[in-house]
């Protein structure tokens, strides 16, 4: 019995030693598993961080990226994809890693500043040039005769934020009257002629197929559309109040402990909060946390009144259950169409 235990310890000890020595022999490699539209951002973050790390530690570091629909990506990590860090656009996609398999420690939000969210974006409107339908605020989206393009709230984080933004706006407007808020989002989603599976699909429907009067999407995506496909075909409209979508990040504890990459992974995520990382973030039209940078790029980020899921809607767990679970508010409203 004790001999067995000794053997186990020995093996464990040797394994640990090997793991701690490994970085000295081989280059450290980190895998960042992320959501769909952060591709361009991390393409710029990674070399900047690698240069900094090399300067400090005299060793090379490689960072691989994996992008895709956020829930699918989280599912892949649960399924065994060895991600050192996970960078998402909504907290539930990291919480699921706590629940399933304990891959991430439950207190992940406390490990980094700002609840572990280095940046955020907000839901805004993109309308056709000159805004022919006169769309200024959420109430205009619920008007008869306005076609609204939104991705499916069941399958897309972007769509979920749009739904919650409309819901939060209605609650504010009707002073917490849920019956009237329900009626409002029902009308708004009744104006949706096409439900795409994800944010990029909705973008294509609106810009390439010419369907709809207004696209509701994240600020960074809207700016990108205007730059890439726009050529002055669209106008950006900021509603009176909207939802803020913080992008959470976490170290995948089980993986970094196994690979011995905790220091590098933590440094990588900390880099996102550094002035250099925040500047790259701001240049990609995500709203940085650093007040100095917000000021520097004030022209890019007009001040808008915002609320978050935590501040106005009682947190993700509650929202998920009340709105998006099967038979929840979204299903009820979809059934009445």
């Amino acid at each position: 019995m004790s001999q067995n235990r000794f053997l186990a310890r020995l093996i464990g000890g040797v394994g640990l030693l090997a793991a701690s020595l490994a970085p000295a022999f081989a280059d450290t490699t980190l895998l960042n598993v992320s959501y769909d539209v952060s591709r361009e951002l991390y393409k710029e973050i990674n070399p900047a961080f690698a240069a900094q790390w090399q300067g400090k530690h005299r060793e090379k570091i490689n960072i691989s990226q994996s992008h895709g629909g956020s829930s699918k990506q989280a599912g892949a990590v649960i399924g065994g994809l060895e991600a050192d860090v996970i960078t998402m656009n909504q907290a539930p996609d990291i919480d699921i890693l706590v629940e399933r398999g304990g891959l991430v420690a439950a207190d992940w939000k406390k490990r980094f500043p700002h609840e572990a969210t280095p940046y955020s974006s907000i839901s805004v409107f993109l309308v056709r040039k000159g805004n022919p339908k006169g769309i200024k605020d959420w109430s205009d989206l619920a008007r008869p005769g306005v076609a609204v393009i939104v991705p499916n709230p069941k399958t897309s984080g972007n769509g979920r934020y749009t739904w919650l933004a409309a819901w939060g706006y209605a609650l504010q407007q009707y002073k917490g009257d849920e019956v009237r808020a329900r009626e409002f989002v029902g009308k708004l989603f009744g104006n949706v002629p096409v439900l795409d599976g994800g944010g990029r699909g909705a973008t294509t429907t609106f810009t390439q197929r010419g369907v709809g009067d207004v696209l509701v999407t994240f600020e960074n995506e809207a700016v990108l559309i205007d730059k890439e496909v726009g050529g002055g075909q669209f106008d950006l409209v900021y509603p009176s109040v909207t939802i803020e979508a913080p992008a959470p990040v976490a170290v995948v504890d089980k993986v970094v402990d196994k690979k011995g990459t905790r220091d590098a992974a933590t440094a990588y995520l900390n880099f996102l909060f550094s002035p250099e990382g925040q500047d790259i973030i701001a240049r990609h039209h995500f709203r940085p946390r650093d007040p100095a940078l917000l000021k520097k790029y004030a022209a890019r980020f007009p001040a808008v009144q915002t609320f978050t899921v935590d501040s106005a809607l009682g947190g993700w767990a509650k929202v998920q259950k009340a709105h998006f679970a099967d038979g929840g508010l979204y299903d009820q409203i979809a059934a009445r169409r």
Binding site: A74, G75, T155, V194, L195, R209, G210, D331, A335, R337
Partner: protein, 277 residues
């Protein structure tokens, strides 16, 4: 050295063994995993998932449109095969190769191309929409996509049978006084029917499982143009793996029942026309 059975080539046991192992690895084990995963639900829970009104609506869309698409392909696929076998025309080889294109094209590409074509601002959509025919972002769009991906199946199953079919048969029928329609209905069609049914079944099965191309053109509105595979994806996105497999089980069962029915029908027609072996 008389063999036990009158087979020219040996290796029956080996071949059967390989067949069973291969089929198990590739088909049976993954399918069994689906059934096992869904058994985590109690019977009531399972029923609640698969009989939710929104999910039931997708069965109608998926299976109804798949059957319709397969039927359309059976008619036009037969015509195409006929033209390719019986007539000579310039560019015939090219047309023949074109038939296989829906096989090779990534389905997402097909979906995007069809959507671009039939959307209100597309080449075809701009003429159809003023007439009140809305193809993209509705059930009609799903049908178009399913017809597209199912086309090669009917053509490729009917073509070899038609090539084997001697024109002498038709001449004999004509010389015995059969009218053209009679020749087709009583001589040619019975011979082609088993192959046609196989093509129909393949096109149908392909259409039921299709996701990539449909998703772009469907519009995906609840109760109108959502397909069953989308329901499965939706469940997966919400980390409801068990619910997703429950719907998958129902899809499998319905598909299996329908395919079995078609196969029985095919066996029956084959027997009736004396082509069974």
């Amino acid at each position: 050295m008389a063999a036990q059975q009158h087979k020219v080539l040996p290796g029956f046991h080996l071949a059967l063994g390989y067949t069973l192992v291969y089929l198990s690895l590739v088909v049976l084990i993954p399918l069994a995993a689906v059934f096992i995963k869904s058994s985590a639900l109690s019977l009531e829970e399972f029923w609640a998932v698969v009989s939710a009104p929104r999910v039931v609506a997708t069965y109608q869309v998926s299976f109804g449109l798949s059957l319709l698409a397969a039927a359309i392909n059976a008619v036009f696929g037969l015509m195409l095969a006929w033209a390719l076998v019986r007539y000579r025309f310039p560019g015939k080889k090219l047309v023949d190769a074109l038939v296989d294109l829906p096989f090779a094209l990534p389905t997402a590409v097909a979906g995007i191309a069809l959507t671009a074509l039939y959307a209100g601002n597309g080449w075809l959509g701009q003429y159809l929409e003023p007439l009140g025919i809305k193809v993209a972002f509705g059930p009609l769009g799903i049908l178009v996509a399913l017809v597209f991906i199912g086309l090669p199946f009917v053509v490729r199953t009917v073509q070899p049978i038609l090539e084997d079919l001697d024109t002498e048969l038709e001449e004999a029928a004509a010389s015995l006084g059969a009218q053209r329609w009679q020749t087709f209905r009583l001589v040619i069609l019975p011979i082609l029917l088993p192959a046609l049914l196989t093509g129909f079944a393949l096109a149908f099965a392909r259409a039921v499982g299709e996701y990539g191309s449909v998703i772009f053109i469907a519009g995906n509105l609840p109760f109108v143009s959502e397909i069953t595979p989308l329901m499965i994806i939706t469940k997966l996105e919400q980390y409801d793996y068990v619910g997703a497999t429950a719907i998958a089980v129902v899809m499998l069962l319905i598909s299996f029942a329908l395919l079995l029915l078609i196969n029985l029908l095919q066996a029956w027609t084959a027997k009736r026309t004396g082509r069974n072996r």
